[in-house]
Amino acid sequence: MIAGLLLLCAAALLGAPHLLVRLEGMRHSPRAALVVWQALSLSAVLCLLAVGPVALIQPRPWPSPAAQLAVAVIAAFASVAVLLRLLMNGHHVGRRIRAARSEHRDLVDLVGRHEGARTRVLPSHRPGAYCLPGAGPRVVLTEATLAALPEDQLAAVVAHEEAHLRERHDLILEFFTVLHTSTPRLLRTDTALREVALLVEVLADRAAREEVGEVALGRAIVALAEAAGLADLTPGAGAGAGAAVARIRLLAVDDPTPVRSLALYTVGVAVLVLPPALTALAAAS
């Protein structure tokens, strides 16, 4: 049955993240890797959404019209439920994130020293660096960061944050956050979200490396990790020290060859195309 095939595809795609996080070589091509992750997620969602329509459309020799009706109704409900959950969750997550950023922006604008149009320096003795993406973006540093880092390392940190803002990495994270929080707790994996967050950092690192070189950037990561370790900084979300090690190791890795990236992009396209193609094939036979 086609709906069954679709469910199988969705199950395979939901299981694929567990496999994907093991393929650390993909981190060498962060941009292509993120495309694969996005294609995979999108494909899984589309499969689930297609279950209802496919079950409704497909003419089949059913044991009884009542059974056919029952299956169609259940499948349609499943699709609608998935769609509604995604839309509602996307709306709420987006609204909360934007509200939080706006409030936080007010805060750093009030407390921080204004250094240029969008850089703010907080009067704190704890080192830290982050950016607030979205409308009215800000790069936020602390006085301790300015004091601790020599100029080239500071430039590396700023280049990293500016790359986040310029390339709108927040949209990638928001996309995955919506999918993650929409997925039932039993099916989702935190490892996948962590991997995506790491890939986003690697992407920004690549941009900063282009500008200032990997030595300055690496030293900045070490310096801030040391300072953060001593000051017991910011518990909670984000890439941890394990991520810092991974990022530094990736600094020494060259940009991927075009062939390698192309292969990954091809995988991304295949992941998107395969389920509908399989379904069409099964329908034709």
């Binding site: 407390v111 982050y130 900084l233 810092a244 090690v245």
Partner: protein, 141 residues
């Protein structure tokens, strides 16, 4: 945008004045205006800024006779600490990570050795991309 930026700068300047007021019984609009010596501002502008700050919850006001006196609702230190924390407690961990992108978070001292070790390898190799670019220029020239 410039207008917005200057308004933000003005809000900050006003907060600096409120924070610097050591007497602690608050300042009137007129007193704030008098202390903004480096700017030529209208009374109503300062009034607007103070009421915006009150809407944002960073100042409180009390009636003294016929005028209001404004206080900062928190110290600069506690607001700074807030700005250092991840935003809003009602966000989930995943949402926080998407709302604010930290350069580095959550370093445990145990892992520092691994971080330093990884960096040592980068140091010995040096800026590979730079050297490559440098070589490229040499061979071109």
């Amino acid at each position: 945008m410039p207008k917005n930026a200057s308004l933000g700068g003005l809000e900050r300047a006003v907060m600096d004045i409120l924070w610097a007021d050591e007497a602690g019984d608050g300042l009137s609009v007129r007193e704030v205006l008098d202390r903004l010596t480096d700017r030529d501002l209208a009374y109503t502008t300062v009034m607007t800024v103070l009421s915006r700050l009150e809407t944002k919850g960073v100042t409180t006001r009390e009636k003294h006779g016929r005028s209001w006196r404004y206080h900062p609702s928190s110290t600069r230190e506690s607001l700074t600490a807030e700005a250092m924390r991840s935003p809003l407690d009602d966000l989930s961990g995943e949402e926080r990570q998407a709302a604010i992108l930290h350069f580095l978070t959550e370093a445990s001292p145990d892992d520092l050795a691994a971080v330093r070790e990884a960096m040592a390898a980068v140091e010995t190799k040096g800026d590979r991309s730079r050297r490559r670019r440098g070589r490229g220029e040499d061979s071109a020239g």
